[in-house]
Amino acid sequence: MTDTAPAIELKGISKAFGPVQANKDISIRVMPGTIHGIIGENGAGKSTLMSILYGFYKADKGEIFVNGTKTEIPDSQAAIAAGIGMVFQHFKLVENFTVIENVILGAEDGALLTPSISKARKSLKQLAEEYELNVDPDALVEDLSVGHQQRVEILKALYRQADILILDEPTGVLTPAEADHLFRILDNLRKEGKTIILITHKLREIMEYTDTVSVMRRGEMTATVKTAETDPEQLAELMVGRKVLLRVDKKPATPGDVVLSVRDLKVTDSAGVERVKGISFDIRAGEIYGIAGVAGNGQSELMEVLGGMRSGTGTITMNGQEIDLTGKYSDGQSRRARGIGHVPEDRHDEGLILDYTAWENMIFGYHRDPEWGTGPLMNNAAIIKEAEAKMERFDVRPPIATLKAKNFSGGNQQKIVLAREIEKNPDLLLIGQPTRGVDIGAIEFIHQEIIRLRDEGKAILLVSVELDEIRSLSDRIAVMFDGQIMGERDPAAADERELGLLMAGIAGEPDKPDHIAVEENLTAVEHGEAPKHG
């Protein structure tokens, strides 16, 4: 083993963007036939490093060796020629092309498509058998599930003879079942001698599936260790640079009166598609109600209706009083007046105005409150002073109120939004994706704040695509699929497999033994169809 040349070896890679040193003297050896994880916080330089390897950026310094030979990779063509394939976080597929057309796109043999297509068909069939990479070659990409689209991306790379596969945060959009399948595929690939580089921020994936793991922090490679010889706590510490509490400490909830009550809520989007199909639930004071689910199953629309960003039908009562779901008094300001705070899923486009300063963002949505000025005028000095105090309390760094929001890191941006919404002391707080794009150090803080708010007797609705987050924070878990709540579970009793099945739309039917329904629907999921549920 020691005398085989590494599949990839980087020596002394450095890359700067202006004053920001994205990669600092990075050296790494990736052995062939292994899954090599690269983990690090946002902005640690993982993506930059991979972009250099794939020819998107040119390193300022350093050398790349592929299978022991020094290789220049000025563009992605050269990367493909060197046997490197990449599966991006956001797929690069032509939606209204078929699978086979996408696979051969850019790798056609000549002016006529027919020979290329028949060649690709043969090769796809073979790949499908070897690696469990089944996708209907003639299906349109837009009709495929996200998991299947990802397989098309992998097929594209393999069709181009890639021996080294880079996957950038591949499980972010997958259900647990789809993620499991992906890792089975990766395992098969490894057995065939392919090399896989897995970029992720999920410690669990690293621990379960990788052979070796490299940790990056602030542009530097802090360690490369055998996965078997490390543990999550050590990796987290290497990522953040200090000890991190990975588990959420909380006392049992003491639920009070019902604060929010939702009955038969339906939401139709602008294209006329029903996104939320008549859901009902209650949230009591002093409890966290978590909604799990794969992105795009109606959670966003639910949050938007509750937050006054969208209209819907049904009945919603807040502290016993009905709130408007359409018309003049269904907007965000009316919601805030009724004691609903909202930390939206997308802090860049919704929760913050990135070109506004931190202090301007600290009153966003509350800017009509009388305390911020007299009549039409705003009292900027008072707002700045208050904003500085809030930034101090929430440990926003740097604590400069006149800095624009876009100049803060993801975690600090999220703290600004949280500070604004929590300090307003709402009865109900809607929180969407509280830690998306937030570094581990800040995640700890944000989770503690959410628990603290619960213990103060506030009702909290938490929506997250991170199942681990939902499970560790929630007092009750609801799983949403296709606009409906598939079921409610006690987080202590529900195991991940059960939640995963609910997320895939598979609910046990009372008139049929559970396992039969599960088998049927699993087959449906395998074929990329919308699963049936009872």
Partner: protein, 364 residues
Amino acid sequence: MDKMPAWADVVLIPLISLLLAALLSALVILGIGENPIDAFKLMVDGALMRSSGWGYTLYYATNFIFTGLAVSVAFHARMFNIGGEGQAMLGGLGVALACLYVPWPHWSLAILGSSIGAATFGAAWALIPAYLQAKRGSHIVITTIMFNFIAAALLNYLLVNILRPVGAMDPATAQFAEPTHLPTFQDMFSTAAMPLFRGAPANVTFFLALLACVLVWLLIWRTRLGYEIRAYGWSQTGANYAGISGTKIIIIAMLISGGLAGMMAVNTTQGEAERLILNMTEGAGFIGIAVALMGRNHPFGVLLAAILFGFLYQGGAELALWTSIPRELIVVIQALVILFTGALDNMVRMPLERLFLAMRRKEG
């Protein structure tokens, strides 16, 4: 971190752009066989070295301040109001109606009345495109530009068929009554010993324009409404989250914008012509776009840019008068200024940013 200091963004970039435009203009003047240095001297002499020159420069600048502010306010809500021209024409109608049909006792009251008339008519003309944008999604750029043509046709019809005094030959209203005439700079600043601004059209409306600059600054940066306008301009989804109604912002921003554009008619119609004529806008509605662009949509920047364009207008007229350089050349120069300060902004910005970054790295 921002890429370069604020002063470089606000001062250096427009200045360099301007120099580049001047350089290219000089080449054009050389090309038609004139001496660019002499031409520049002539422009400066004619526009800035005599008080009457200033009187013209500031007269034009007054128009450009109003139309520049109009474009700026709309732009803060991310709307491109190309309809300043039409809104100003309707503003002229408002001024004319106020001056012709109300027996004002004194100019100070008349200017209040005509300002209200101008702003109301200009705003009303902007309201239709605003409504179409807010409620029907018709693009404001398309509708406002079309409304310029409708305004011109409407004004033509009204002047020829309705407002023209019986027996008059030209398409214009009757002269406004004496008490509505606004004091010019000559009236205000000349003494018997030292006549100033002789014959120049600059009038008291200039101070109204300065006041408008201050009020727009207050509106955009010191009021809750301005906060909402800017927020909506930066992010419509963000505004929706905060409960800021897009419909409301579009309508209000366009009403203010149209009102400001209409106000320029107080300067031209009441202050200078003292009656409503065809083509009273002289293209100022369009120049407002360049002024706003160059002034970075900030009232103070708009003021400076308006004075610069006033200088170009007046200096250009001098050129046409004293040299063989045609008046149209000034359009070329203005176009170059617009090209460099607006469209080619990044051409100057990028190397400058790189320069500042390099300097910072050396320090660090």
